[in-house]
């Protein structure tokens, strides 16, 4: 029963992955004048000396680290603060749902135009009311990186919120009652009961969100295109530009292989985690 699916994945999944690794050992330059040739690890050797590669790794780490951290903290804080019967929860649920399932391209383009354009974007206009700006959201390198992190955080904090809320709902009430009787204050209850019980949910959020942040493309591409210059060019975008703008498929494939390795390591962690936690 699995054979059709496996057969398909083998042909259209595994063969490409193997070819990716093989292509990384070749020179395949579609606009160069040199013919395709097997060059061994030369692509990797040039990668080691490629400043733009290291810069893209650095930006990827900043982007992934800070957006996952922000999603975690904001998501957890909101989930804890709003974990009580309140009117308006249903509206919040819908409001939080949409950013996650709408096309990231539409989201990125919307932020680039309607929200962050100096003077005409609503965020910029709103900040001007309290005397901040106009700000170079997408035109200054530092601001641009902050902006794409903000967009990603906006789009994915709802995920952390939903996971934490579900986890809070599933918590047993006995330990809290026992702690109340023993006279533990709110902070002690949070630190010694809530937080340890939330641990699996926190791990899930960190792992899944890291995977997604590492492969972020659509929203960054549509908001900044990786720029200005290379200010928001995470490894994923660098591999894209090398492969499909410079048409240097061999080097692009080597960069893709590095991405694949990072992903594979995280997949193993995810799998172990799923196996041990059902």
């Amino acid at each position: 029963m699995i054979s059709p699916a496996l057969l398909f994945l083998l042909v259209v999944g595994t063969i490409p992955l193997v070819s990716l690794i093989v292509m990384g050992l070749w020179r395949i330059d579609l606009i160069g004048f040199k013919p395709d040739a097997y060059i061994g690890f030369e692509n990797y050797a040039s990668m080691a000396g490629d400043d733009r590669f290291w810069e893209s790794v650095r930006i990827m780490v900043i982007y992934t680290g800070s957006s996952v951290f922000l999603q975690l903290v904001i998501g957890l804080a909101l989930a804890l603060a709003l974990f009580r019967p309140m009117r308006g929860q249903a509206i919040l649920r819908i409001a939080l749902l949409l950013p996650m399932i709408l096309a990231p391209v539409a989201v990125g383009l919307t932020w680039r135009t309607l929200i962050l354009t100096p003077d005409y974007g609503i965020l910029d206009a709103a900040l001007q009311v309290i005397g901040i700006g106009p700000s170079p959201w997408l035109t200054d390198p530092t601001w641009a990186l902050v902006s794409v992190i903000m967009i990603h955080t906006w789009q994915w904090t709802p995920f952390a919120f939903l996971v934490f809320t579900a986890s809070l709902h599933a918590m047993p009430s006995d330990p809290f009652e026992a702690a109340m009787i023993d006279g533990a204050d709110a902070w002690q209850r949070f630190r010694d009961i809530t937080l340890p019980l939330l641990r699996p949910a926190i791990v899930v959020v960190i792992i899944l969100r890291t995977m997604i942040a590492l492969r972020a493309f659509d929203a960054i591409y549509s908001a900044t295109g990786g720029g200005p210059g290379t200010a928001t060019e995470i490894l994923n975008l660098y591999a894209y530009r090398v492969s499909f703008t410079s048409l240097d498929l061999g080097y692009g494939a080597a960069l893709g292989t590095v991405l694949l390795l990072i992903t594979a390591v995280i997949s193993i962690v995810v799998f172990r985690f799923r196996q041990s936690h059902g």
Binding site: L6, L9, G88, I101, L102, L109, Y120, A166, A239, L260
Partner: protein, 279 residues
């Protein structure tokens, strides 16, 4: 309750409701603003500060639909998403059942393999896809694109449906088999109806993932098969930024997904927590 406690609890109430309102605003205003702008007369779009009150117009929608290629691109999006979803469900449903139920050799490594396929970075796959499709002349064709999209929809559908099949009690099939049903009959008549919810969630997510995709589309499609997520860029070229038709098109791209979300809210929350969206 003494006065102080009542005072304190009303402050807490006020703070949490403010927070709730703030959260709703932060996450809904950008989307509402797209809809508002798409209905705004052109003269008012570039008002500083942004104008809130105006007579709504559908001109931008007419404008967008008249722009060469937009209607075609929406049709392309539909063709590609519908086919890649339907085919994925056809292949993934039995596969997910087998993973969840049957004990066979290599089950664990094959499960891991499916997961890895779901986790594989799209950029890593795109490079050989582009190379391969150009070699066999399938760039910018429906067959090429649908096949490639199946690599998104199949592994994810298998992974998601597995959890639903695993939740159905084993005894139900056993009873059916004891009563003389074949394994296939048991699957078709007992399990499938029970897994209806899971199948619905998976179908929804397979469709959303295909509908929203941009990365594969921007490289592997072309003038003949370009989906709406790529075509929408034409309104925001460097020399002129046409916010009106851009927002109208964005609403048309978001529309189907919003409608699905409103009708299947619970399912979507469930699917998301199982890793339903590729990001």
């Amino acid at each position: 309750m003494n006065t102080f406690a009542r005072y304190k609890s009303s402050i807490v109430n006020f703070v949490t409701y403010t927070l709730l309102l703030l959260a709703i605003l932060i996450w809904s205003v950008p989307i509402i603003w797209v809809i508002v702008t798409s209905l705004k007369p052109r003269k008012l779009i570039f008002n500083d500060p942004p104008s809130l009150f105006f007579l709504p117009t559908l001109n931008h929608y007419i404008d967008a639909l008249k722009t060469g290629g937009i209607v075609d691109s929406i049709v392309n999006s539909l063709i590609i998403s519908v086919f890649s979803t339907a085919l994925a469900m056809l292949v993934a449903t039995p596969a997910a059942y087998a993973y969840a139920r049957l004990r066979f050799r290599m089950r664990t490594p094959l499960t891991f393999y499916t997961l890895l396929m779901q986790m594989a970075p799209p950029m890593g796959l795109l490079i050989p896809f582009y190379f391969g499709l150009s070699k066999i002349d399938l760039l910018d064709t429906y067959i090429g694109l649908i096949t490639i999209y199946l690599t998104i929809t199949i592994p994810f559908s298998v992974w998601l449906m597995m959890t639903y099949f695993a939740d159905i009690p084993f005894e139900l099939e056993e009873a059916a088999v004891i009563d003389g049903a074949s394994r296939f009959q048991a699957f078709f008549w007992i399990i499938m109806p029970l897994a209806r919810g899971g199948i619905a969630v998976t179908t929804i997510f397979a469709f959303i993932n295909a509908w929203n995709d941009f990365l594969y589309a921007v490289v592997l499609s072309g003038p003949r098969t370009q989906p709406a997520t790529v075509a929408i860029f034409s309104f925001l070229a460097a020399e002129e930024s046409r916010w009106g038709p851009f927002t109208a098109t964005a609403v048309m791209i978001m529309g189907p997904v919003v409608v699905i979300a409103l009708f299947a809210q619970k399912h979507i929350v469930q699917g998301l927590s199982l890793g339903g969206v590729k990001g």
